[in-house]
């Protein structure tokens, strides 16, 4: 805590002159800010977007560019999948729970096809082809991918369909998404004020009416006639806030643009906002899903703990919460060789051995640990079964000598997570908890009522999620609920 500049709100009576006035003032120009701006303008508002950096994009532009969409989008249909909003809703409630936001998930699922169309109408490109194997990010430009919908237990909870919609890109899609949305914003009357950091909210008779910001050395006052929308991102870059709310994340690598300092969340709290699920996180761990799914992931005593074909983000959450990331990928030579070179991301095994007895000795596991686990695994895999964790028979095969082990904590940032460098402690994370908002982006106070004039969207809010995380839901709920916040703020209530 203790930021250098006080975060407590300023009474409007203390503001003698406003440097700028607008209808809707948006703080933060990532995907949620851009979507808010577009739909606020559409709703008839004058809009100013504040951005701390010298240009828009934020953490959104650094992301893999996956948007979680379904219910029968044209991309799904082109790839031969029937999907329904009901199946999408059931999957999300299971994968993001326990305690995922039912109202948000329901609305998000029901309106998902329309949201797909909105993205396409704003020139966000998606290609109608499927990548059909577990991964963080496919090495291709295929536009559709599974997010574990076809893995246990989700395949028994809801009719499976792939819903990871990938923005077409040479590499990561986040920058393409933000380029498209920024270009759309540029065509509107919305003004973008870069190099401008929001510092404190301005309050008048219990209503948020503006923001005091810093532009280089100047203090600048903004008045918002209709509403202020906070789209400042999460708090993964703020070590103090992590220690306060999500201590397991302290010391891990961070997946952000470096500006996820949580200030937007705390600014809103300082005018009475409630927060939700502040311990939630996305946990990207350093493993190659193609290797893991063909072998297994085990804890420090060689025990499996999850079916390896779920979305790797859920493996990350489990590895952190259950085993503090002390986990290993165990595989054999055949499995390693089966992973194409361009999907290996340069990963080499840390240990190789002819026998499991040697491998467990090298790793420092109890004598017999891997022999027992792989023995049980192989016994059932030969029959195409995995009664322990229910991995799909597609990935089951008895592992054979020679064997190899990869230490997840030694770090190999999957390509989704930034520069391909080493994630701290083997993981790169971001926070998913934040301001408690309605489906229209109203920020709720501690009584559960809306704070007049204050809205939020994106990772500054607690979105669809509770404890689980599936990629695509951040760009997804950021743009979806950002749009709704833009409309609601324009109504000026």
């Amino acid at each position: 805590m203790s930021p250098r500049v006080p975060i407590t709100p300023i009474d409007a009576a203390e503001i003698t002159t406003y440097d700028h006035e607008t209808d809707v003032l948006i703080i933060g120009y990532g995907c949620a800010g851009a979507a808010s701006a577009l739909d606020a303008v559409e709703a008839g508002s004058d809009v100013i977007l504040l951005e701390r950096q010298s240009g828009g994009g934020g953490s959104s532009a650094l992301s893999g560019g996956e948007v979680y969409l379904g219910g029968g989008t044209p991309i799904q249909e082109a790839c031969g999948f029937d999907d329904t909003a009901e199946a999408m809703e059931k999957f999300l409630l299971a994968a993001l729970g326990p305690g995922a936001d039912e109202e948000k998930v329901g609305l998000y699922s029901r309106d998902s096809r329309a949201h797909y169309q909105w993205l396409v109408d704003h020139d966000v490109p998606f290609k109608p082809s499927l990548w059909d194997s577990p991964t963080w990010v496919p090495p291709t430009d295929d536009g559709l991918m599974w997010m574990g919908e076809n893995s246990y237990p989700f395949n028994e909870i809801a009719e499976p369909a792939p819903r990871g919609h990938r923005v077409t890109s040479d590499g990561f899609g986040g920058k393409v998404l933000m380029a498209a949305l920024s270009e759309a914003v540029d065509k509107t009357s919305a003004a973008v004020h870069t190099d401008t950091t929001a510092l404190r909210l301005i309050v008048e008779d219990g209503r948020v009416v503006g923001v005091v910001a810093r532009h280089f050395n100047d203090t600048v006052a903004y008045r918002a006639r209709r509403g202020v929308i906070i789209t400042t991102g999460g708090f993964a870059d703020n070590k103090d806030m992590l220690a306060q709310h999500a201590p397991r994340l302290v010391g891990l690598g961070v997946n952000s643009d470096g500006g996820d300092d949580g200030r937007g969340i705390v600014m809103a709290q300082a005018v009475g906002a409630a927060v939700k699920n502040m311990a939630g996180a996305q946990v990207g761990i350093s493993l190659v899903p193609g290797m893991m799914v063909r072998g297994m992931i085990v804890d420090s005593v060689g025990q499996r703990f999850i079916n390896e074909d779920v979305y790797p983000g859920l493996v990350g959450v489990a590895a952190l919460n259950k085993h503090n990331l002390k986990v290993w990928v165990i595989l054999d030579e055949q499995a390693y060789e089966e992973v194409p070179e361009d999907e290996r991301w340069g990963v080499q095994p840390h240990f190789v051995a002819e026998t499991l007895a040697e491998l467990e000795l090298e790793i420092g596991m109890p004598e017999g640990a891997l022999q027992t686990t792989v023995g049980e695994y192989n016994r059932f895999a030969a029959e195409g079964q995995d009664p322990y964790f229910h991995k799909s028979s597609r990935w089951l095969r008895p592992l054979q000598s020679p064997f190899a082990a990869i230490d997840v904590r030694r770090g190999m940032a999957p390509p989704e997570y930034g520069d391909g460098g080493t994630g701290g402690g083997g993981a790169e994370v971001f926070s998913t908890g934040g301001l408690w908002t309605t489906v229209d982006g109203h920020v709720l106070d501690l009584d559960g009522g809306p704070i007049p004039g204050l809205f939020a969207a994106g990772r500054a809010t607690s979105g669809l999620h509770s404890q689980g995380y599936i990629s695509g839901t951040s760009l997804g709920d950021g743009t979806f609920f950002g749009r709704r916040a833009g409309v609601a703020a324009s109504a000026g209530q």
Copy 2:
């Protein structure tokens, strides 16, 4: 959220007459409130204690009556244990972490012997005898017990000494502790106003100066000249707050007096208070430690996940966070028979079988699951070793037919947890997160500075803990930091 009565603070200008005035106003008469009152009076303050119920006690009076104390107390010395504040501090940081409050743990450990003496000076009885076996609550009135200090990994982190100090009692000690403290409060000038529920804080120029409360059908205004101390307990009884901050706890049994609704926490948030670690919890699960330690605890596919001789509260946290309480105690007839009748708490195995193959089939585990796990366990136990989880050799012995299994989720509330009835889902919990306070009980705002006039202690605050929990630390930090809050509030800053 959405309590019927608004929780937003009232401006002092709106209060025309105060019904009562005092120096220090304390909300909630559990152990933290009593300790605050005693040391506030000692520091020269007039004190009024508000209590919603018709008498004091709160959840404290229903508790087992364990107080975590050490550093060489007379009880430890009489039982033949040398202990140091340094060892106590190291243990607590490890057992309550990651991210336990270093400043609070350090001070609590250094001043622990003095705090023991304060309790004894207030006629809280402790008996100098040791119960030397893992348990929630010993069936005897022994005054000292291990809290897992002698189990892995804590025995390698800090010199072990038992620090669970039990208030001497026929049964649970919480009521005896509260009787002693209440008797001490009765001897002071402090006034106790029962049947009085605090509703909203009164604020004047940014300083908390009082409370609006309800006494039956009357609204009553209290003015506090020096400070208000919130000691209202946690939020385990508030399902909405659990869903908001600690969704894993929703639907489980609650260990409280029924009044842990979190209102004190939210009242303080409404004047700008910061909270910390809101997902933290004590998780009392339905198992008999004497059975578990002689056998093993396994997940739904028969895998062990912890050394069974740690404090059972840490087993509960692991069982909830790692396996959503889908865990089983596996033991053999000899282990069952070894547990004395009065330590069995009426627990009967849910399944009994001659062979592990039959047992795993009856439970519904994968074929081979228990055979594998018990096989590995027995192989090493025969040598007095447990390389997987490092249970002490004292409890290691190859398990032999006939075998038995106990389903933890079917519920058997351990006697510490209320009426011996069924804990919901096999567990009874309470929250350990709450207001962020200094070691002097000042409630911190979102900038990290103290809120003038506002103090807190006990389970309304985030105390010593982060993610872990050891029994005795709630009565311990409630009384210890309650006293400090009483002194600090009396200084009127």
